[in-house]
């Protein structure tokens, strides 16, 4: 978990430089360029925020993500496989690097 988080921190540097680009189409032939175009803020505003209120800062239809006690592994599994009757499975939509970026975003969440 620790190693992955460190790798994710490195990826964050890449992301910070690329905020504001369009979201890619569903994961098919993912390349490093696709990650450069991946904006998790926009992802939350278009999709995740439907259930994870206020960009993930509040509980609503889904649990609060800000300050979560869940491990990276748990979140990765949840994003990929969903939870029956509660959350859709996004495994076909994101590659591993994109999920890393989502986890970074969640870990970085602060009150507005």
């Amino acid at each position: 978990m620790r190693l992955k988080y460190c790798a994710a921190v490195f990826l964050r540097a890449v992301l910070v430089a690329s905020l504001g680009y369009a979201m890619p189409a569903p994961a098919q032939a993912q390349t490093p360029e696709d990650l450069a175009n991946f904006d998790v803020n926009q992802l939350f505003a278009s999709t995740c925020g439907f259930c994870h209120s206020d960009g993930g800062r509040d509980a609503g239809k889904g649990p609060q993500l800000m300050g979560t006690q869940r491990s990276d592994e748990f979140m990765r599994e949840r994003i990929k496989n969903g939870k029956q009757g509660a959350m859709p499975a996004f495994g076909a939509s994101f590659n591993e690097q994109q999920i890393d970026a989502i986890i970074i975003y969640i870990r970085d969440l602060k009150p507005r």
Partner: protein, 574 residues
């Protein structure tokens, strides 16, 4: 279909105002004429009849004896992921309803004995990727068949007597967008009509008509830019991923052979255009025919008339939610249609606006809607950034939701639920979604908020459907999200969110009876009679998209309430 003994004697004991013709031993087919007539003992289409009153004329159960109501039987459909949102139908003593995953049941209406069941095999991997899944809001019946839609984009016809598949037609390729059908279809004149989900997804929101005998598609109307004129109302090619859809059943006007249908909101739900939405933002223009009521020719699917209730809907206030009450007042034929915003529109049969009234107090997405023209006055169109003070009212859940109200022709009152809640949001300037894809297209982070200076609550109102004048109101700490039933016995039944079903005096609003159904309600409620005995059937089972908010925002019983369970509960006089 069982033969009912001593039918004439049994019927005499049911205090119905209108004399019934003697029923035959085997049921007559359910056809357009029967659905139109409404049926005393039956519930033949989702909203009761094509008048969409959600009303039963039966009065064996009435204001003086409702205290004696008790459970007659219960059915548990199983696999009730997201609870139950279904409205049962009843024809000739047999009740037809659906559970989650479009599981269809035919039950004897007097005993609950299962006559047959059908479980379609759904694409489970697709279901796992969907948001509004796997619920189903009910069936249609007609010409010997039961029709049900699925969340993986199919419309299926089953033999009414045996449950065997007559045809199974795939109408939507749900893999790309993950949208399918959640609402009940409508049967009319050898045709089955069903509208897809759409508003939150980057697609074009089709409404389909299918031949009832063969299952072949007859026509398809695209609610997003379905005509050349409409395409002009979507700047920057935004019609390609516009949203739309028509996910609840409308109705059929046999006088003009017209289908009336409500359409869903455009995508992204929240725009960043500011006041100049006609030329700026994610989807410049009025965005026809989203958030509209449309009249389509039943045979050709061609658009005959429409009214766009919210041009450039920037708040997710679908017209898809509302029933079409077909009323007459002072010799004028009217159509009353509630919009998700909390405004109720009154039209003539050509969809010309006659009046607009507010069902809900907390509305600030507009200052008002002109009651004579339907024009929006003082719109709140946002730019990218926070919306907090004041919050946007009503909340994304709407001032009104898809659960049906009820019009009672004896009292002349429309019984309908209003929802008082608001939201803070941060609109993002999301980049345009250029091709249909799996992601939603919301456009903002948001959070439920109480109304300015007040608390969140819900209310059951008794209103004049044309003027909106309020006769009485009952308040609830959380908005009830199930349908309302009124009956010829001067009763209004409301199943609430906490799990209690209430009966009120239709004239005064006095509570006369209540009973706990064990879990929250988010589905339909109907009444019917078998062998001279009247029944009230209600689905219980929480967990759909709107109810997902309740545990976090309201706590209490919602924290322990299951979101994967449900039952059909049927009451009669002890």
């Amino acid at each position: 279909m069982t033969k009912r003994p001593s039918c004439l004697v049994s019927l005499a004991s049911v205090a119905i105002a209108v004399a019934l013709p003697a029923p035959t031993a085997s049921a007559q087919a359910v056809d357009t004429a029967r659905i139109e007539a409404g049926g005393q003992n039956d519930w033949l289409t989702n909203h009761g009849s094509y008048k969409s009153f959600n009303y039963s004329p039966l009065s064996q159960i009435n204001a003086s004896n409702v205290g004696n109501l008790g459970v007659a039987w219960i059915h548990i459909p199983g696999k009730s992921t997201r609870g139950l949102q279904s409205t049962p139908l009843v024809a000739d003593g047999v009740l037809y309803y659906t559970g989650s995953y479009s599981r269809v049941f035919a039950l004897k209406g007097d005993t609950g004995e299962v006559l047959w069941s059908y479980f379609p095999e759904l694409d489970e991997a697709l279901v796992a990727r969907q948001t509004h899944s796997p619920y189903n809001r009910g069936v249609a019946i007609g010409e010997g068949k039961v029709y049900v839609g699925t969340v993986d984009g199919r419309l299926i016809a089953l033999d009414m007597k045996t449950g065997k598949v007559a045809w199974d037609t795939k109408l939507i390729d749900s893999q790309k967008l993950t949208v399918g059908f959640t609402g009940a279809p409508l049967y009319a004149k050898n045709t089955v009509i069903i509208g897809s989900q759409g508003g939150e997804w980057p697609g074009r929101g089709p409404i389909f008509a299918v031949d009832a005998a063969t299952g072949k598609k007859k026509w398809e109307f695209l609610t997003v830019a379905g005509t050349d004129d409409a395409q002009k109302t979507w700047g920057n090619d935004s019609w390609r991923t516009g949203g739309g859809g028509g996910w609840m059943p409308g109705t059929y006007d046999s006088e003009t052979n017209t289908i009336l249908w409500g359409t869903a909101n455009p995508a992204p739900l929240y725009d960043w255009s500011g006041a100049d939405f006609k030329t700026q933002g994610a989807r410049p223009g009025d965005n026809l025919y989203t958030t509209s009521v449309i009249a389509l020719d039943l045979d050709s699917g061609k658009l005959k008339s429409y009214h766009q209730e919210l041009p450039h809907d920037a708040w997710d206030f679908d017209s898809a939610v509302g029933e079409f009450l077909m009323l007459e007042r002072d010799g004028q034929k009217l159509v009353v249609h509630p919009n998700k915003s909390g405004f109720v529109f009154v039209y003539d049969r050509n969809l010309a606006v006659k009046n607009v009234w507010r069902m809900v107090q907390n509305i600030n997405f507009v200052k008002d809607i002109d009651p004579k023209t339907g024009e929006l006055i003082g719109r709140r169109d946002f730019t990218a950034g926070k919306v907090e003070s004041p919050p946007l009212c009503p909340y994304i859940g709407g001032g009104i939701s898809w659960n049906s109200g009820s019009y009672n022709p004896k009292t002349g009152l429309y019984y309908k639920i209003g929802q008082e809640w608001c939201m803070t949001l941060e609109v993002q300037k999301t980049t345009p979604v250029v091709a249909p894809q799996v992601q939603l297209n919301i456009g903002a982070d948001f959070k439920m908020a109480p109304p300015p200076g007040g608390e969140i609550y819900g209310h059951l109102d008794a209103r004049d459907p044309v003027t909106g004048a309020k006769k009485w109101e009952v308040r609830f700490p959380e908005p009830p999200i199930a349908s309302v039933l009124s009956t010829g016995g001067n009763l209004v039944f409301l199943p609430d969110a906490r799990g209690t079903i209430h009966a009120y005096d239709a004239d005064s609003g006095a509570e006369l009876w209540s009973h706990s159904d064990g879990t929250g309600h988010q589905g339909g409620i109907v009444s019917y009679a078998v062998g001279g005995k009247q029944y009230i059937a209600v689905t219980a089972g929480f967990g759909g998209m709107l109810s997902d908010d309740y545990a976090a925002n309201f706590g209490g019983v919602f924290k322990s309430m299951p979101r994967d369970d449900g039952a059909l509960i049927v009451y009669s006089l002890k």
